[in-house]
Amino acid sequence: MKHLIKYIAILAVVAGFSLTSCEKFLDQAPAGEETSEYIFEDYLRSIRYMDLLYYYLPPLWEGGRGFGTYGFIETGTDMARYNSSYGTANQSINIGNWRASVASAEIERWEDLYAQIRRAFMFLDNIDKFQNEPQFEGVSRKVSMRGEVHFMIGFYYFELLKRYGGVPLVKEVLTLDSDFRIPRASYEEVKDYILENLDLSYDLVPDEWPRDDYGRITKAMVMALKSRLLLYAASPLNNPTNDQALWLEAAEASRDLIDYLDENNMHPLYHDYQNLFMRGYPSERPEIIMPKHVGANSISFNSHIIIYGQGLPGEGFQAYGNNSPTQNFVDRFEVIEFDGSGNAIASVPFDWDNPDHVANIYDNRDPRFYYTVLYNDQYWIKRNIEVWRDGDNWGKDYNPKNHFYTRTGYYMRKFWPRECQAYDNPGSAKLGSFYFRTGEIYLNYAEAMNELYGPETDNLGRASGSKTALDIINRLRDRLVCPASEDISGQNDPYYNVLVERNWNENFPVLPNGMPHIPSGLDKDEFREKCLNERAVELAFEQHYWFDVLRLKRGEAHIGGTIFGVDVVKDGDNFIYTRKVVEQRVFDPSRMYLYPIPQDEVYIMGIDQNPGW
């Protein structure tokens, strides 16, 4: 018995010991020092947090986000067709299968955009915590950082506004304890809130940044966003009564920027339209107001886009040629008419009923055509494009039995960097895309001015003089200079690339004075069509056209409707071109002008879904 007591005593001690030590045994979680305190006590760690606001700005192509993995957003419209059957979302939109339920919210951006709004406010809440920031222009870097963040709040809310209309305005960092029954603000309230942030930002950001900070927010960027925002706000979708005051705001905002750029000689129109999209750093293409913040040599990123998004299938290239421009789009490029001595005198719309036009289908078109679209028999990377058929045979770039080949008869050339123009190993590119460029601002201005005063009147009364809608749009066309070959001096000539192009392509027009002007004497409606056509052609594939169609309420014509392509029959050495129907698309005007809000958000917040969803 004595032994037993001893055993029990030992057991009790062991048990007691293990009970107290087992809590410790279970304390395995690492002691975390990377808390928010740790981040925001240091300038560098804090700016790293802020800089992701740049990183998450929506890209030009909605890669993986609903317009096909490598599809441009324009594939939702009559500008292009997405070829691959893999990314099906744009096809989904094309056939009217665009749904509100979370499972099929095709172009869902809601949460990603609000995540960045959270980031902006989280940063502003903590900006006072770090003290080791450098000086910029003689004041604390915090000043300009605040400016950058306010711009971003504006930018991200504009991304929401243009998709969903008025959205819940979150102006703080939400927590799990927050009241989530936040109503939707009206379109005007969101617009005003964005303007408020842009005004704050404008006062805090500089006109220019030093070399290494190129790309950060400048006053011009703030004004550019304001120009776009107010144009959208004045457009038929958001201005059903055609309130002229809204057009005035839009025109004023664009004019402010145009005057600012003119006075300071900043961001001039780039003379070389092709290379605005094909080569060099954004800083070498000064027309770019706000670049996309991708690295100069992000090999995997850019070459990927080229291979899958633009490249040609076949020939060891293994591209998908995903974004095929349509005949609808190609027909938008005007045909230039020449007088007997070879001077360009006018430009007229392409006309399928005009046998001259059809017989010389790709001759003397707006030069932007040659830089935007690849078409049959065009010279491209050491050979001519072959999208013809001939009995049971097809050209190298066309095969109706293979899904990757174009259905429209065209491939996309814009945004195909010169460095990647190879078949086998496209390699890396220095292409950086962008969010704002001067050309857009001109078109914003021209559109708003026309709605206000017509094409040839400027009643804004600016000290900088008269700038009518027509003046500005022709300024844009003047830039499209294509000198005669003998006038191009050599490799250093700014128009040398025109010479190269003309050596490849004898259809290429000679335009020593740029595109013929849009004539005067048009009325407001005629000019509006000219202006919108110019916009589609000039800003093709720059993520404008889809939203332009929506804001102008032209979805039935340009998101729905018939998609045409070209049928090219090879006949000996000649080609016969006919227009063919590629597909019929569906657009439901009762709902598709605004995106559906994710259905769960509607349930949770008790807000109204957009109509029709």
Partner: protein, 1025 residues
């Protein structure tokens, strides 16, 4: 099963009814069978008679009476216990009955021979394995089911999990694939009670071990396999017990002469089922039709089709049946094991070694550097040694280990994906010059190319399990007291070696008037061998146990206390630690009433202090009615026992580690956003982590179990019925009532609730007839249904979008009303906003909410879930002398399967068509069509989750069938052996199901990366000496 039954299955008759019909038929047959004539006219013979009584003196019918060594002379006792038998002089008469000692008496002078049978051992004295110990079956009051080794060993399967299908009521097995080395079935106990991890806990020889260790075990080393189902049985496992517990005990040494047992078998494997695709000609005719349905022009001309049909130019117009081309007729599998069992009074041992090799079903050629085959080798050994050091002290040493070697082609399931996807018309396998074919759309899709040239990877895995156990009997100090303890150490180490390369594929380009040439695709890359250690796992687990077990007159008392601590490390991660204390008390009165109460106090490192430890109590009660005096007259009832239990157990699955701590803000220098004139400057990034949930803890299951056990007819028929109810709460889930505008990941909260209920019924019938004919029948059936009670869903949500009130994983979809007859039908029906604009022949869906539009708001629950509600199995065995025969059926009902995309839909992502697409709707076949109009587009009215594609997945399988022959004893003795048995067996032999396209156990979804399950034919022997 014969043809009429099959037809009834197809017509939707519930399978279990058929099973019952089968059982009844067999039962009737058995009653008819035992008719033996014993009137021999030979003059020397004597006729003896007598009465056989049982231990209580009551007459004992159905006792087999036979002459020793002569199986042709025998009889059975009638209902008065009387028998008559004519026997040769000098015979020895044997009296036998299952569960009773076989008695032998030489003939005496008297012709009357009355015999009193003695029970061999009462069924209730059997020992049952329970958590942290063993109990007499009589005192078990929880829901526990056991099968023994004999039943498992029947079928030589590569993975032991597949031997369990349909053997235990309440254990659901789902084998979703057959890849060598990866063909384990998932086990679920009583279905699914949570949408989080629902895997049971595995306890091997008393130590919590991974399912991977269990899956490498050889069936021949297993003594018993026990499933703990209710909370009364699993509460002792605390935070790990809620999904049920599987206890596996290996064999141990026995005192006596050493026996050596050798098992060896050769198995031929075949795919049970793989999709049957149409040939090029048939496919492309349908393709043209589908294009026209989509308003497009056909792309294959009459000439093209004719070329495909005739096969005149197989390189330009191929017709490649990838399965036919790549599949072996049969693939072998070898199993062999040696078990040595023996011991003296002081040392007992069991040693086992086994080897298994399973080869893949696809043809491969060894390459220069690698062999791209599918194959799996497993070496395994076990050694259990018990040393009785003194009367009061036993030392046990257990060591187990396995070495596995799995080889796969580099592309693994990508090969099957492309075999299932790539149309027969797309590519020949090889070109005229022998190179692998590709084209620009499908440069690296050729399955033959993929398996043969892309490389290989091998995974070597070493696993050791070990334990040292000490047991002290302290009777010397306190009668009935014992303590024991153990330390277990398990280690697992995996090693990976891979080879990969890329070779080019080539396309033959032949144009009229030009010489043939080849275009190449893919840039060749050289071998890139890669090596890595895959996994390194280590578990240390220590346990101390004190037991007081004593009987005081009519009262028996058992008290137990356990302390258990374990640490599990994997890779470089922070250890997973757990501490638990268990207390258990049993009280029994006169074998009649048993009361057990137990509780675990267990903690996990994954939760915050204060949320870490939980108390998991349970209480259970049983009443052995047959011990009551009023039952004594009912001698036909051997056991009648009522059981009831209530308990609580937990599931500590947490998804995220240390969910309670504020996450780490990640900050890094790698570039995200770029700045600078050359876009080369980037400062790095900092990201906010998900919000933490400091209150996170385990989910809790509360269970009630009511059970009834009945053993009647002298232990011949036993039955067990259980009814259970469960409520789970605190299931971790992301709250759905937090909107996306929060802008950051929301942590999982303990908010989900489910309920579950069901029943299980298990019958064992064993009948020993004269002349050594033994029949056994063991059917079982179980039913489980679950329901989501709460899942934090937005209040305003429509009912269709909520999971509340529906089973976990309920399929949702559109209800198909039929096919659109014509355009007028479409125009007059609710607007279908489902996919593309419908055409005649597409599905017409129900406008459930009646708003005139069919859209996502009209999706309703359709079918069941993938987890069958009803599972059943039955074994029927018959021994006739030296021949034994057994069949085992297994099946499931009230479950659904949804296979979509490439294996179900036509031309999805350029994939193929199958036989079921031939029955499509066309204007001429609209009356008989069983499939809607065909489309080529990825989006169509038809290609959505709907009541057509969510299929009833009821199936019944002849899981195993075996015929064996045991060589007669005298022949064996001459060979110096103790026993030799030869057998032929097969598994997955026949399947009756309603899905028919693929194996019914294939997982739901977009399955194409799927290695089909195997049907096996085996020949083997067991040798003992």
């Amino acid at each position: 099963m014969n043809e009429p039954y099959r037809i009834r299955v197809m017509r939707g008759c519930r399978i279990f009814r058929i099973l019952l019909a089968c059982f009844t038929a067999l039962f009737v047959q058995m009653q008819v069978l035992p008719v033996y004539a014993s009137d021999s006219p030979l003059e020397q013979q004597r006729t003896i008679r007598g009465t056989v009584t049982d231990e209580t003196g009551a007459p004992f019918p159905f006792v087999t009476v036979y002459v020793d060594g002569n199986t042709t002379i025998g009889s059975i006792t009638d209902d008065k216990g009387e028998y008559r038998l004519t026997v040769p002089p000098g015979s020895t008469i044997c009296f036998a009955f299952v569960g009773y000692k076989t008695l032998k008496f030489p003939l005496t002078a008297s012709d009357v021979m009355d015999v009193k049978m003695e029970p061999e051992m009462k069924a209730l004295d059997e020992v049952v394995v329970v958590g942290f110990g063993e109990q007499r079956r009589a005192s078990v009051s929880a829901a526990v089911t056991t099968i023994t080794a004999d039943e498992i060993v029947q079928s030589p399967v590569a993975n032991i999990t597949n031997a369990l299908a349909g053997r235990l009521p309440g254990l659901t097995t789902i084998q979703t694939g057959g890849q060598p080395g990866l063909d384990a079935a998932a086990l679920y106990i009583r279905g699914r009670g949570t949408w989080n991890n629902a895997d049971p806990l595995y306890v091997i020889d008393g130590v919590e071990r991974t399912s991977a260790i269990f899956q490498t075990m050889d069936p021949s080393e297993i003594e018993s396999f026990t499933v703990l189902k209710d909370a009364a049985a699993t509460a002792v496992y605390g935070t790990k017990g809620a999904n049920g517990v599987v206890l596996i005990n290996t064999k141990r040494g026995q005192e006596g002469t050493t026996t050596v047992s050798i098992n060896s078998s050769v198995t031929l494997q075949q795919f049970t089922r793989y999709p049957k695709f149409l040939d090029s000609y048939e496919s492309l005719k349908l393709y043209n039709e589908a294009l026209m349905n989509d308003g497009l022009d056909p792309v294959y001309s009459e000439y093209d089709l004719e070329m495909y049909r005739t096969g005149a130019d197989p390189y330009r117009y191929p017709n490649t049946d990838w399965y036919e081309l790549m599949m072996k007729k049969v693939a072998p599998q070898y199993n062999s094991s040696v078990n040595i069992r023996g011991g003296s009074r002081t040392v007992r041992y069991f040693v086992s070694a086994s080897y298994m090799r399973q080869e893949g079903q696809l043809k491969t050629q060894p390459g220069r550097v690698y062999n791209p085959r599918f194959a799996y080798d497993r070496y395994r050994f076990t050694s259990n040694v018990d040393a009785i050091i003194t009367n009061a002290f036993t030392l046990t040493f257990e060591l187990g280990g396995s070495l596995t070697d799995r080889s796969d082609p580099w592309e693994q399931m990508g090969i099957f994906h492309n075999m299932n996807r790539l149309g027969p018309w797309v590519l020949p396998a090889t070109n005229p010059d022998g190179s692998y074919a590709g084209n620009s759309e499908f440069p690296d899709f050729n399955p033959l190319y993929l398996i043969q040239t892309r490389g290989n990877d091998t995974r070597l895995n070493n696993s050791i399990t070990s334990a040292i156990k000490l047991a002290f009997n302290l009777d010397k100090y306190v009668k009935g007291l014992s303590i024991n303890g153990r330390v277990a150490y398990d280690s697992n180490f995996g090693y990976y070696k891979g080879w990969s390369e890329t070779q080019s594929t080539f396309q033959l380009i032949s144009r009229p008037g030009r010489a043939d040439r080849y275009t190449s695709f893919l840039t060749p890359t050289f071998f890139s061998p890669s090596y890595s250690t895959m996994t390194a796992q280590r578990t240390v687990d220590a346990l101390g146990n004190i037991v007081f077990n004593r009987r005081f007159g009519d009262h028996s008392v058992r008290v137990q206390g356990v302390a258990n601590i374990s640490e599990y490390r994997t890779g470089t991660s922070i250890p997973y630690n757990s501490v638990s204390f268990i207390a258990r008390a049993n009280y029994g009165y006169k074998n009649k009433y048993n009361l057990e109460a137990n509780t675990a106090y267990r903690g996990s490192e994954n939760f915050a202090p204060g949320r870490r430890f939980g108390l998991f109590p349970s209480v259970s009660l049983s009443w052995n009615i047959q011990e009551e005096s009023f039952m004594q007259s009912l001698t036909m009832i051997n056991v009648a026992k009522l059981r009831a239990s209530y308990g609580r157990s937990g599931n500590d699955y947490a998804g995220t580690r240390f969910i309670y701590k504020e996450g780490k803000w990640t900050t890094g220098t790698s570039a995200r956003a770029y700045f600078g004139e050359e876009m080369g400057a980037s400062l790095g990034y900092t990201n906010e982590p998900e919000i933490a949930n400091p209150l996170a803890t385990w989910e809790t299951a509360e269970q009630i179990n009511l059970g009834f056990d009945l053993v009647v007819f002298r232990n011949r028929l036993s039955m067990s019925f259980d009814r259970f109810f469960e409520r789970r709460s605190g299931i971790l889930q992301t709250p759905r009532s937090v909107p996306g505008i929060l802008g950051i990941g929301t942590p999982d909260l303990n908010i989900g609730e489910t309920s579950r209920e069901g029943w299980e019924f298990d019958v064992t019938y064993r009948h020993e007839l004269a002349n050594r004919v033994v029949l056994t029948l063991r059917p079982n059936i179980a039913y489980t249904i679950n329901q989501v009670v709460f899942r934090d869903e937005p209040e305003d949500a429509d009912w269709w979008s909520k999971q509340e009130g529906k089973p976990i994983g309920q399929f949702m979809g559109y209800q198909v009303l039929g096919y659109f007859k014509d355009q007028a039908d479409i125009d007059n029906s609710p607007v279908q906003q489902v996919g593309s604009t419908p055409i005649p022949g597409d599905f017409k869906y129900l406008d459930y909410n009646g708003d005139g539009v069919v859209n996502e708001y009209d999706r309703i629950p359709i079918g069941y879930t993938t987890m069958p509600r009803l599972t059943f199995g039955t074994t029927f065995g018959m021994n006739v002398g030296n021949v034994n025969f057994s069949v085992h059926f297994q099946g499931a009902a009230q479950s659904s399967i949804y296979v979509s995309q490439m294996l179900m839909w036509e031309f999805y992502n350029r994939s193929k068509v199958q036989e079921h697409h031939l029955e499509r709707w066309t204007p001429t076949t609209h009356e008989t069509a069983t499939y809607p109009a065909l489309h080529v587009g990825a989006i169509s009215q038809n290609h959505v989750q709907n009541s057509y594609f969510v299929r009833d997945n009821t199936y019944l399988r002849l899981k195993t069938a075996e015929i064996g022959y045991t060589l007669p004893t005298n022949m064996i003795r001459r060979l110096g052996l103790r026993g030799l048995r030869l057998y032929l067996s097969g598994s997955n032999l026949l399947t009756w199901d309603r899905f028919k396209v693929l194996d019914p156990e294939v997982s739901s979804g977009t399955t194409t990366q799927w290695y089909p399950q195997s049907r096996n034919y085996s020949f083997g022997f067991n040798l003992n000496f």
